[in-house]
């Protein structure tokens, strides 16, 4: 069973719908710690502020079952958008520490006014795989839908699975053992997102 964590950080129903669409194991939208303790895979989606995300995880009692799943049971976990940023140690957006499973920090996009680049970065963009991985593979050119004002900066280059370019190349997919994160929205990136989620379901 795949648990999709529903911690009041936006409507995450489209993730469940896309999983249903690609077949594979059943998924459930949940904030029940007991369900997370049994989950064979976990998806942590979310849009919104970093601190609110961390506080909601704590308020629903999900920190311990998430840590246990990620670090002890080592089930595959996928963070999406804010969910990816929560995998890092901290964010320039907030004061709360993150889950800290990936040696990385979350930084704000800053561009000189004359570049005309707006924050948030919003729209479809190409993603380039940086090393073989289950999420982004195959020869075709892939594009995904992004909406974010913050991005992840990894300490260890080997944790970087993919990058996209907005002003400069930035990390948009990370992975370390059973822990994965993507900055874009696979659930809003039709066939490209389905292929990614299929990869995660098999990972």
């Amino acid at each position: 069973m795949i648990a999709i964590v529903d911690y009041d950080m936006g409507n995450v129903a489209s993730v469940a719908n896309m999983l249903k669409r690609i077949g594979g194991p059943p998924s459930v939208l949940t904030r029940d710690p007991e369900v997370l303790r049994r989950a064979e895979r976990i998806i942590l989606p979310g849009v919104g502020a970093f601190d609110k995300g961390m506080r909601n995880l704590s308020a629903f009692g999900l920190r311990a079952p998430l840590d246990e799943a990620a670090l002890e049971r080592r089930v595959p976990i996928l963070g999406i958008c804010l969910g990816m940023q929560l995998l890092t140690k901290s964010s320039e957006e907030g004061a709360e520490p993150g889950l800290g499973w990936i040696d990385a920090t979350t930084r704000r996009f800053r561009f000189p006014a004359d570049t005309g680049l707006k924050v948030p970065h919003m729209g479809w963009n190409y993603v380039v795989a940086k090393r073989p991985n289950p999420l982004i593979n195959g020869a075709d050119r892939k594009r995904f839908y992004f909406v974010h004002g913050y991005y992840v900066e990894c300490t260890r280059p080997e944790d970087v699975l993919g990058t996209a370019c907005y002003g400069a190349d930035f990390v948009c997919a990370i992975g370390r053992e059973n822990i994965y994160g993507v900055q874009f929205h696979p659930e809003k990136s039709h066939k490209f997102g389905m292929a990614l989620l299929e990869g995660f379901v098999r990972a």
Binding site: M122, W124, Y126, D140, K188, S189, H190
Partner: protein, 252 residues
């Protein structure tokens, strides 16, 4: 950087999807959720849903239906119609709407739009401009739900971008709506050259060549299509369908 987009522009009358001709004679098309499921299969770049009666009646957006649409959409979802307050913007984003489209609100309460773009960012707010040719005064901004401006179409678009801070313009030709005769390239070009934010052209798409043309020959970043996406052909029955991106832009 910004990839060109092709999207269905669906009209909702409060009960079902409809399609108009020159903003009149709404014809029944069907259920929005069924249509969205088909557009998922067609891998459209984005989906626009406009509630064409909400501001006219006036009544608030149908939040339950919008939530269901956002949950079914495997692509970014933009909604417009009846939005009157900053709280309603917040509620729509929480339901999974990526962009809120405002038209009447820009004319009747520009401060609300300003506040929304300040709080949620330009990229989350689309300013829609409907326009038509009038007998005495040439091309005019048209508002079906009241509110007026003396600004020209180009000046109004510039005002939405520069003064209200919207991140994108949806430029909709009333005269071309439902006519299958091609986009109003001249106005699209003028607006595209006047504003620096992305422009979605809407009204008149009748075939793949029209789409190719508007994306290749004008500064428009996106092409929206109504009739083509809901009818088999002009004058024929309802068929939810969508042209392949490859045929228009040469990529997937």
């Amino acid at each position: 950087m910004a990839l060109k987009r092709i999207m269905p522009c669906l009209l909702f009358d409060g009960r079902a999807l409809v399609k108009t001709v020159r903003f009149r004679n709404p014809q029944y098309i069907g259920d929005p959720i069924n249509a969205i499921k088909i557009y998922n299969e067609k891998e459209v770049d984005e989906l626009v849903l406009l509630d064409i009666n909400a501001s006219r009646d006036p009544r608030p957006p149908q939040f339950d239906l919008i939530k269901e649409c956002a949950s079914e959409c495997f692509m970014p979802f933009s909604y417009g119609g009846g939005v009157q307050s900053v709280e309603q913007f917040a509620r729509l984003y929480k339901l999974g709407v990526e962009k809120v489209i405002v038209n009447t609100l820009c004319l009747k309460s520009p401060d609300t739009v300003r506040e929304a773009t300040r709080q949620y960012g330009a990229t989350s707010v689309v300013g829609a401009v409907d326009y038509k040719r009038t007998f005495l005064r040439g091309q005019q901004v048209y508002s079906a739900a009241g509110g007026r401006t003396r600004r020209s179409v180009v000046d109004h678009c510039r005002y939405l971008a520069d003064d209200l801070g919207v991140g994108e313009i949806l430029l909709y030709s009333v005269d071309r709506d439902g006519t299958w005769t091609g986009y109003d390239l001249e106005t699209i070009r003028m607006v595209g050259e006047a504003v620096s934010i992305p422009l979605i052209a809407c009204g008149g798409a009748g075939n793949v060549a029209h789409l190719r043309q508007v994306l290749a020959e004008t500064p428009a970043n996106a092409a929206a299509l109504g009739s083509m996406a809901v009818y088999q052909k002009q004058g024929m029955g309802v068929l939810i369908n969508f042209p392949q991106r490859r045929l228009i832009l040469g990529d997937d």
